[in-house]
């Protein structure tokens, strides 16, 4: 094959799309999603469903066409675009056909356990209702490939405006399809599932055609409204300042009210997910002070989470070595003090974790960047290994951890909040902690100390020359950040009632760091969004098994390439990464 032919866009795109699809099939990605119906509808005389796996194959074909089509005049497909697109789809389809043919004649399972006959049926779009002769199968696959490639090319040729309108609609339909089960669960919890089932979702879990169309129409309508300036933001901007403030505060009140009833709307499974999101958001807010505000890369943040959790557990568990003493003290104090257990544990855990932050801070004061990251990483592991060690087993329970952690008792009401049984109640505690942390973080950011952190983050030497006390300023960042992790640790213990050393693995630190980066380094609102996206979504995608981590990784890479400043960046970050004139994200 000549070089120039290999460089032809159709051939290249088709090969890439085909081979990537084959790869996804061989590692089991496609089959994992084969049971998830995205859309369900009546087509060609039978009920058919579009599964997520099939959708991925179709998307690959469409992508090949879109990539191969040369750019034309804006709003028009380039003259050769449709041809190139169709060709690319054809090439990709040929690759899939060859793969299916190969797989059916040679058993690949010895090497690739996931290479099942179902996989070949899937990539060749045969089997089931479509089973038929091999010749027909090939022809059908090629026509489908060309058609999808053509579709991609046409999409590429669409006016930017049409694409802008259509993209959210498509994403929304896909999103609703993927999360159909979750929606059904929530709807069922509220007893209104039956009303929606018929037309929005179907039994298989997918989105029904009328529902899909309705959602798409709504999304396009919203896009059209936004074009005319009918977004809430702009409508608000048109109001007089006094009214704007009134509307805004009403909006905040409504949002708060909604948040307060949210756990009861969602039901206990989703409330539990929300609790986890909240805990990560809390830790994100703390680590954001260290990494985002003060610019010190801390990879061992989980250590302070562990310190808080273990302190609280030792103080409140009935299995703790301290339990006899505590019972004694509580017995004496019970008449005078309505606050016991949890409420004593919170300040203690915050204090211990905060002190831990300061103590870790002292030896690493002189470290910067990479060195700091490595040392903190080591510290995080040391804490976990200590907790696991035989040496501290009498106190911390070794790898069995500490069980029987007391629930949080709401003072004067006698309501006990233990996470496993009452995730909805625990949500309020976590929400209160998050609100407190947001308040603290905002006040600190806008304070003298906040300015000192920013200066240190930007340039430590100059900051010192400006009269900033480096030692104090850094230790304050480590201490406050760690204290918030300690608070999260206490709540974590209440949530699970048992803590194990392995809950405090390195991955937790990395997740928190990732959610800060995805949300937007240094941005408080970004931490919230980051926690929802990086902690909430994977929880909801549990039935996708390990592939959620693969998707997670892909999303991270995509984010860093296309939106390095994060989803909701703060002002400085935006200034650095999106100079002049680039659209600003909402704060």
């Amino acid at each position: 094959m000549s070089r120039s032919l290999l460089q032809h866009p159709s051939l290249r795109s088709g090969l890439i799309a085909g081979l990537v699809t084959v790869f996804l099939g061989l590692v089991g990605f496609l089959s994992a999603f084969q049971d998830d119906a995205l859309l369900v509808g009546h087509l060609l005389g039978a009920n058919r469903s579009l599964t997520l796996g099939t959708a991925v194959v179709l998307a690959a074909l469409i992508w090949a066409g879109a990539r191969a089509a040369p750019a034309g005049r804006p709003g028009w497909p380039a003259p050769r675009g449709p041809l190139y697109g169709a060709l690319a789809g054809l090439v990709a389809a040929l690759v899939l056909a060859a793969f299916a043919r190969l797989g059916r004649s040679v058993d690949l399972r010895a090497i690739f356990p996931k290479a099942s006959p179902e996989l070949y049926d899937m990539v060749a779009f045969s089997g089931g209702a479509f089973a038929g002769e091999a010749g027909w199968e090939l022809l059908r696959l090629l026509i489908l490939g060309a058609a999808m490639g053509l579709l991609g090319a046409l999409w590429q040729g669409l006016a930017p405006r049409s694409r802008r309108l259509a993209t959210p609609a498509i994403l929304l339909v896909l999103g609703l399809g993927v999360f159909a089960e979750q929606f059904l669960l929530v709807l069922a919890h509220n007893g209104i599932a039956e009303h929606f089932r018929g037309w929005l979702f179907l039994k298989g879990g997918g989105l029904a055609a009328p529902g899909a169309i309705l959602v798409a129409v709504l999304a396009v309508a919203a896009g059209l409204a936004a074009e005319r300036g009918w977004t809430p933001r702009q409508a608000l901007a048109r109001q007089a300042p006094a009214r704007r403030r009134a509307i805004l505060s009403l909006g905040w009140t409504l949002a708060l009210a909604l948040t307060l009833v949210l756990p009861w709307l969602l039901g206990s499974y989703h409330s539990d997910v929300l609790d986890t999101v909240g805990l990560y958001a809390l830790m994100g807010l703390g680590l954001n002070i260290v990494v985002g505000f003060a610019g010190m890369l801390d990879l061992g943040y989980v250590a302070f989470f562990a310190l808080g959790a273990y302190t609280a557990a030792v103080l409140t568990s009935k299995e703790s070595f301290l339990a006899p003493c505590i019972r004694l003290v509580e017995g004496v104090c019970a008449e005078h003090m309505p606050l016991t257990g949890f409420w004593v544990a919170v300040p203690a855990a915050v204090l211990v974790a905060g002190l831990g932050g300061v103590l870790l801070g002292i030896p690493v004061l002189k470290m910067r960047g990479d060195y700091l990251a490595i040392i903190t990483l080591g510290f995080g592991e040391i804490i976990r290994i200590l907790a696991q060690s035989d040496w501290l087993r009498p106190y911390l329970g070794g790898s069995q951890g500490i069980a029987g952690i007391a629930p949080a008792t709401i003072p004067f009401s006698g309501i006990a909040v233990a996470g496993l049984r009452k995730p909805q109640l625990l949500f309020y505690l976590i929400l209160a902690a998050c609100l407190l942390a947001v308040f603290i973080a905002r006040r600190l950011r806008d304070s003298r100390l906040g300015r000192a952190w920013m200066a240190i983050r930007e340039d430590e030497d100059v900051a010192e020359a400006m009269g900033i006390h480096l030692v104090m300023t850094k230790l304050m960042a480590f201490g406050t950040g760690a204290a918030l992790a300690g608070l999260a640790g206490t709540l974590f213990g209440v949530k699970l009632t048992t803590i194990y050393p392995h809950s405090f693995a390195l991955l937790v630190s990395i997740n928190i760091l990732a959610l800060i980066i995805v949300g937007g380094m240094g941005s408080i609102a970004g931490v919230m969004v980051g926690a929802l996206v990086l902690v909430g979504l994977p929880e909801l995608l549990r039935d996708f098994q390990d592939f959620r981590w693969m998707a997670f990784g892909a999303v991270l890479v995509w984010m860093m390439l296309n939106r390095p400043e994060g989803l909701l960046p703060d002002a400085e970050r935006r200034r650095e990464l999106r100079p002049e004139g680039a659209p600003a994200a909402a704060d």
Binding site: A455, D461, G467
Partner: protein, 241 residues
Amino acid sequence: MALLELRDVHSYYDRIQALKGVSLEVAEGEVVTLIGANGAGKTTTLRTISGLIRPREGSIYLAGERISELPAHAIVAKGVVHVPEGRGIFGRLTVEENLRIGAFTRRDKAGIQTDLDAVFATFPRLRERRRQAGGTLSGGEQQMLAMGRGLMARPRILLLDEPSMGLAPILVEEIFAIIRRLNREQGVTILLVEQNARAALEVAHRGYVLETGHVRLAGPAAELLVDPEVTKAYLGGEGQG
């Protein structure tokens, strides 16, 4: 009594000795310049004064009080303010945020606001760009920002390290004019390190010539300007300067 006095100061970078017994004085209201070849130890002298490096021998006095044992932030709080070589602008912070960090050691809100307005009056270009990121300013504007940030600390003495470095001739002139105005009109005491020896000696009252960690020559600026040795080594190639 001199406002700032260095007595036989020795400074090291690990085992490399950069200052081998530097003594100098700056009186209140003076502009004193420190000139010398690359690597002579000018920057090191300023860093030692502001406490970023601790002298291994010798001492430094501010208005008779020994400051060479104090940490950097305490020295700044005493009014010794260093505008570092290469300006040290906080690139991602706005012009105004940069200026406010300059006033970090102060707590008088009203006074800071007054001084902010005063800095904007001295450097009108900074006012126009107050919400712009410091890193996006031109070199000359960054130098103005660095000096303005130094002034925000209400310095008793301002240490300027090569303010004209890398600037176009017209901007160099402007910077020296500003230094003169700061001193003559606002009475700011300045210790000025410069490569641009002629311009520095023209604005200064007195000067010191530093050579590999020693003070080689010292005297009134007007005398140094015509000193044959100085002319040959530091003014020779510079033409009109």
